[in-house]
Amino acid sequence: MSAAAQATLAALPPGLVWQADRLAHPTEAGMATGFAALDAQLPGGGWPRNALIELLADAPGIGELGLLLPVLRTVSAERWIVWVAPPWLPYAPALEAAGVPLEQLLLLEPANHAETLWAIRQALASGGSSVVLAWLTRADTAALRRLQLAAEASATPLFLFRPATAARQPSPASLRLRLEAQDDRLSVDIFKRRGPGLTAPIQLSIPQRPISACSPVYTDALVCTDPVRIAATGIHTGRG
């Protein structure tokens, strides 16, 4: 590109033309993710406020929820945090300990796939939710497109958890992340974003995970015949 064209582009108001070699600058700043390393790599400096965000992960327990906890902690009151079709039970004691406002939590267990999609769209369109988390095992492109449009129209972020194999399927989501565990840390590969591709996945250490707090005790419980009792909560006489 000639220097003159560069100068012309630079003079344009930000957000009007997106140059593919740099991160897009949406007019609205994103929601801080709570992880500086991740914020630096996301267009708008955080999670987009009106988009479908795909989080692809296969293994549970790698910190996939921990990644969103900072967002869930800072949502505005009066609105719901909607979880649609979570695969397991969100465990109240742990959520409370993590500072998630349980009175704003809305867990939906739709009976089938169609109702799941319906519930996600309702949660987005109502304007009554500050963030929507949803788990979908399968979704065709048309359904994803409708979800993306609903998220855009309602200015509500939708975090969609999908299996890692979905990475091969094209998606209208403007932000797609692959989550993997890397030793003690969560490796986040932003493989689609409005900006140049990421050279290497970001390594995040997720707080509230046991891993940073404790070190391995032993490696094989079945070999160890007399495990060291570290804590014994709950005594036999019990609490009435």
């Binding site: 296969d58 293994a59 549970p60 327990g61 790698i62 910190g63 996939e64 929820l65 505005s76 009066e78 609105r79 719901w80 695969p87 397991w88 039970l89 969100p90 465990y91 109240a92 004691p93 742990a94 409370e96 993590a98 349980l102 009175e103 704003q104 939590l105 809305l106 867990l107 939906l108 739709p110 009976a111 319906w118 519930a119 309702q122 109502s126 304007g127 009554g128 939710s129 993997e180 565990a181 890397q182 046991p210 891993i211 707090a213 404790c214 070190s215 391995p216 005790v217 490696t219 419980a221 079945l222 570290i230 804590a231 014994a232 909560t233 709950g234 005594i235 036999h236 019990g238 609490r239």
Partner: protein, 457 residues
């Protein structure tokens, strides 16, 4: 009236005569007053319905209830008129013409059609509605001179002038109301026609014309017979719209709101289907109720064709109307949130929408409970070890625990002897082969074994 094809209503009092007909029947040449044979001769496809006075009275009452949103002073003037005393609310609605236009428009969703007229006295308004629909007569000096041109037959309308008196007037060549005024008053009085003078005085406002005010019913109940039995929900929703319009008007007239109502679907030979529509907060907005009804109907499988709909509601909650806020509605966000909750509950069922609260318990399975969304959890859960964000409601047996890498533990949980769900477990945090962190336990009671109970998501 909707266009229901060629349809006429027949009264059997003095020989079967047509009393009303649909526009398409009128276009065919059927006219009120025709005998049934005459009507069938001009329109062979004509459908006949018997006149139902009870239904007419009920419709008038429904209409009067609905009109409560315009003025509290309403009186039913049988058999077919309703008088609204609107002089005090004219400024609010922007004048007589604007009020008339609004009434006409708002009646459309109710499926009713009315001829409107306005005049300074109720009797004059009624006469005008009969012969000069849409005339809006304002009070001015000698306004009643405008009544002089009306036909004298109107004297029997809404007044006690007997047919014999009318015939007497006809006999002496009186055709217009103005002609009566020119007759000698004492002569009329001598011929038992004092009622004529009395009626004229009332119509002109020279004599008081008190009327009993209509009181809206305590309980709302409205029934709509469907023209044909219905097997799908979409036409039901359309029909229900009319009922909900009536309900909203009832609420508006009482300055009230409600948080529940019942929609009954009546079948021919089966028990009726009852839909309980519960809203999250007091509402008076028909659109919102209808929207909830839509979700209920969408989730419903009709057991049989529906013949009629019935909507009933009681115990309205007093709720003042909301004034417009200059800086937007501060309740809008909260409204959106409750609306979402109502909607999800209506479609997914109340059990599928909930939240979770911690419970002060050591056994992991009992340390949480399902709770009403929006409720704040009680504080003070017991201090315990690190808990996973995901819990499996049923622990899953681990085939090969050797693959696990135990990171921390054990945490002995031994509790529950009092309710039969006693447990003795050693919990560990373990790293799975796929690098996920699992919450696993070894069951210390026979048969023992290793289980995974949650994930540190």
């Amino acid at each position: 009236m909707d266009d229901a094809g060629e349809l006429a209503v027949v009264e059997h009092q003095s020989g079967a005569r047509v009393v009303a007909a649909t526009p398409s029947a009128l276009a065919r040449g059927v006219e009120p007053g025709y005998s049934v044979a005459g009507a069938l001769a001009v329109a062979p496809a004509l459908q006949l319905r018997d006149r139902n006075p009870a239904l007419e009275t009920a419709t008038l009452a429904e209409f009067a209830t609905w009109a409560g949103q315009f003025t509290p002073n309403i009186s039913i003037d049988p058999p077919d008129a309703i008088v609204l005393e609107a002089s005090t609310s004219l400024r609010l609605f922007g004048g007589v013409a604007a009020l008339a236009r609004r009434i006409r428009l708002d009646l459309i969703p109710l499926g009713l059609h009315a001829t409107l007229a306005a005049a300074p006295t109720p009797l004059a308004a009624r006469w005008l509605a009969r012969v000069r629909p849409d005339s809006l007569m304002r009070a001015s000096p000698h306004w009643w001179r405008n009544l002089d041109a009306l036909p004298v037959d109107l004297l029997a309308e809404g007044a006690e002038v007997s047919r014999a008196t009318l015939e007497l007037l006809h006999g002496i060549g009186v055709r217009r109301i103005g002609d009566v005024a020119r007759l000698p008053r004492d002569g009329l009085a001598r011929r038992q026609a004092a009622s004529v003078l009395d009626t004229l005085a009332r119509a002109r406002g020279e004599r008081p014309d008190p009327r009993p005010w209509f009181v809206p019913p305590e309980r709302f109940e409205s029934r709509l017979v469907l023209p044909a039995s219905v097997t799908s929900t979409e036409p039901l929703l359309f029909a229900a719209g009319r009922l909900f319009s009536g309900l909203a008007a009832w609420l508006a007239a009482r300055h009230a709101a409600l948080d529940r109502c019942r929609l009954c679907l009546e079948h021919d030979d089966q028990r009726e289907t009852l839909l309980e529509i519960v809203t999250g907060r007091a509402v008076r907005d028909e659109g919102r109720l209808l929207m909830l009804a839509r979700e209920h109907l969408a989730a419903l499988e009709l057991p049989a064709p529906v013949e009629a709909l019935r909507l009933s509601a009681d115990t309205p909650i007093s709720a003042p109307g909301r004034t417009q806020d200059l800086f937007g509605d501060p309740d809008a966000a909260r409204d959106g949130a409750t609306l979402l909750l109502d909607r999800l509950r209506a479609r997914l069922g109340p059990d599928a929408v909930h939240t979770v609260h911690p419970v002060s318990e050591h056994r992991p399975e009992h340390a949480w409970r399902s709770a009403e969304p929006g409720c704040r959890p009680a504080r003070g859960s017991p201090a315990c070890g690190l808990r996973p964000l995901w819990l499996m409601t049923e622990p899953r047996a681990l085939g090969s625990p050797r693959a696990l890498n135990l990171l921390s533990g054990p945490e002995r949980i031994e509790s529950g002897w009092w309710d039969g769900a006693d447990m003795r477990r050693d919990y560990y945090i373990a790293r799975a082969p796929d690098d996920g962190l699992w919450w696993v336990f070894e069951c210390l009671d026979p048969p023992g074994g290793w289980y995974v109970h949650g994930f540190f998501g």
